[in-house]
């Protein structure tokens, strides 16, 4: 297992070394927000960022992607025959990704890589991606922990974990992809006990106190209350009375789904310019009525309550039941932060989680 130490100023140049072998994506400041951008000479990485507004999920699952191409020109012998859009999948490194955003890819993979069918584009891009994570205790007040996010030092989704020690960075490879990336970054051997010291501190406390600066002690983000959800029967939960109250203020703007690193819904549309056609996949949202509207005019989720309920039931119940790998949420808090009417998944989870209890009390 390769480990490397970088003085604070030496880290960006080491990351820049990766550009020889990878397309490198880094956090950059964009107005009031941060976003991941490809590191070319026009951008300056900002590794002190907290959270990007839009998650890096698009680096594997683009917001808009051309899947197939075709010609509608009848003089073309291949007209109206759809072909895979030519594309390649060069190695890419996402440097500075936070552990929750990395775990989100694990949450998503069960949808795109199934025992029966596999999404070729998602898989090839995921395979070509190396995640170099930034570990620093700076969770904000909108964040929380779930089975799929154990805190700012969660290594599970990463290929390399980079501890921000204030004066410098300590990087540890977590598998083959990580070894290769760290080798390409160069850097020095850390002091003999450096890694052990950091890991002991992490093991000692839920949110450890690490050396001065960035890794300061901080109250641990709370757990999302989901412990009783698995045992809840699905139909009564679906029919619970609180859904109208939860959904009442919702504007169906879709922001909560577009900013969510673990949402995967998409739409497919054809576009033709002159006689060249593309079949394109775009992110979609279960918050929009059109998502489920039948050609007959019938809509199984025509009402706002039905759509809001579907979003939370999918994340916190259907996903949990179907895959047995926790809820479909990594606690990033983006939906909490961005919802214009303050609908809060933590409150909804608490109501869903507590629902059976009320029913049991009734029954007695």
């Amino acid at each position: 297992m390769r480990t490397r130490y970088y003085e604070r100023d030496a880290f960006p140049p080491a990351v820049a070394e990766l550009r020889r072998a990878y397309r490198v994506f880094v956090p950059v400041r964009r107005g009031d927000f941060h976003a991941f951008a490809e590191w070319d000479d026009s951008v300056r990485p900002d590794f002190d960022y907290r959270k990007t507004r839009v998650p890096p999920k698009g680096l594997v699952f683009p917001q808009s992607e051309r899947l197939l191409v075709f010609s509608t020109d009848e003089r073309d012998p291949e007209h109206d025959i759809l072909r895979e859009a030519p594309k390649d999948f060069p190695p890419q490194a996402v440097v500075g990704i936070r552990p929750y955003d990395a775990m989100a890819f694990r949450v998503l993979e069960v949808n795109f890589d199934t025992p029966e069918v596999r999404d070729p584009w998602w898989l090839r891009r995921r395979e070509a991606t190396t995640l170099i994570g930034l570990a620093r205790a700076d969770e904000d007040a909108t964040m929380f922990r779930t089975e799929n996010y154990a805190g700012p030092f969660d290594e599970r989704g990463l290929d390399v974990i980079v501890y921000d020690l204030g004066r410098g960075y300590l990087a540890k490879a977590l598998g083959e992809k990580g070894e290769a990336a760290l080798a390409a970054m160069g850097g020095d051997e850390p002091a003999a006990d450096a890694l052990r010291e950091v890991e002991e501190r992490i093991a000692r406390a839920a949110t450890p106190e690490l050396p001065a600066g960035r890794l300061r002690a901080q109250p641990a983000a709370p757990e999302l209350p989901t412990g009783r959800l698995r045992a809840q029967p699905v139909v009564p939960l679906f029919e619970a009375e609180f859904w109208d109250e939860v959904a009442a203020p919702c504007l169906n703007c879709g922001v909560c789904t577009f900013l969510c690193p673990t949402c995967w819904c998409f739409d497919i549309q054809d576009e033709v310019r002159k006689q060249e056609g593309d079949r394109i996949r775009n992110w979609d949202s279960c918050m929009f009525p059109l998502y489920t509207l039948h050609a007959s005019g019938h809509n199984p989720r025509g009402k706002k309550t039905q759509r809001v309920r579907n979003r939370f039931m999918h994340k916190l119940k259907y996903y949990l039941d179907k895959y047995d790998r926790g809820v479909m949420c990594v606690g990033c808090g983006r939906c909490v932060e961005a919802c214009p009417v303050n609908i809060d998944i933590r409150e909804v989870a608490a109501r869903m989680n507590g629902f059976g209890e009320q029913v049991e009390r009734h029954d007695r």
């Binding site: 509608t72 025959i81 029966e116 069918v117 029919e239």
Partner: protein
């Protein structure tokens, strides 16, 4: 099912061989499709009840039930009602035009359970397509001995809206191997097609009540508009059919057809992948959101 190593979004190229206008109002047409590469036919092995995504390049894709039977070789049939963007364009196309076909998708009627049993088929309106596939499949001489009694009730608003008139003549015949009951809501005065066989006048549930009385060792497969389902299911239950004996096919809005885009769910089940065929018992355990 699509092979796991195949790109599940890439359609097989097909050609429209023939277009049959099924109904007097021209709202339903059957498209006979042939694979451009004959080798694709074997890759498209399916069972009745499954569907496919039909691609019209530049317009989009639509899920349509397979109306032909696996015993009908060399072509596939799809019966399409003119509704919106893609179906309207399809209705304006001509023999020789090219389409794409993705599939076969979804599950099928419970063929393993149906073998050795009595089978009841109930259909209404344009949703009769996968039931056509099923009847042709079961009455094929090679397969007929596998089933006991076959009974079908099929209804439309009027005679001119009945699908597959050529096949109806055959199924109504003595040696068809199926007891076929056809009904229309009302008999039009100026009916263009007067059938040679006896036709009921009345709604599907009423005919079911009269003709389908014995639930013993039987499986029911049904497909039809919501109103037909709403009034037929209580009749079947009254006759003693259990929820586990009744199978129906759902139609939710779809895009990917392979369980990835998310939109067709009923509770935790995806209609495109876990369905479209569900037993009433299975549906009873799902949230009611169809």
């Amino acid at each position: 099912m699509i092979a796991r190593d195949r790109n599940p979004y890439l359609p097989y190229p097909v050609r429209i061989e023939e277009i049959i206008t099924e109904t007097g109002d021209h709202s339903l047409k059957t498209f006979k499709l042939v694979f451009l590469d004959p080798a694709d036919e074997a890759r498209f092995a399916f069972l009745p009840g499954q569907f496919a995504e039909i691609s019209v390049a530049g317009k989009g894709e639509i899920p349509i039930g397979i109306a032909s039977s696996p015993t009908e070789k060399g072509y596939l049939l799809f019966t399409v009602q003119k509704m919106g963007v893609v179906t309207s364009h399809l209705h304006s196309m001509r023999p020789g035009d090219r389409l794409g076909l993705r599939g076969p998708l979804g599950n099928w009627y419970p063929w393993e359970r149906m073998e050795g049993r009595n089978v009841v088929i109930i259909g209404g309106g344009c949703a009769f397509s996968t039931l056509r596939s099923s009847i042709v499949y079961m009455t094929d001489p090679s397969r007929r001995p596998k089933f006991k009694r076959l009974t079908a009730v099929y209804g439309a608003r009027c005679l001119s809206l009945l699908l597959y008139s050529d096949r109806l003549d055959e199924w109504k015949g003595e040696k068809s191997g199926i007891d076929m009951h056809v009904t229309v809501d009302a008999m039009q005065e100026s009916e263009p097609r007067t059938p040679r066989w006896q036709c009921h006048v009345g709604f599907v549930p009423a005919v079911v009540k009269e003709k389908i009385k014995d639930p013993t060792d039987a499986i029911v497969i049904l497909c039809g508009p919501p109103a037909m389902l709403k009034f037929t299911l209580p009749v079947l239950k009254e006759a003693g059919f259990a929820d586990g004996q009744i199978y129906l096919s759902l139609e939710n809005r779809m895009k990917c057809g392979i369980g990835m885009c998310g939109r067709c769910n009923v509770g935790g089940k995806l209609v495109c992948k876990d369905g479209p065929v569900f037993s009433l018992a299975e549906l009873g355990e799902l949230p009611r959101e169809t």
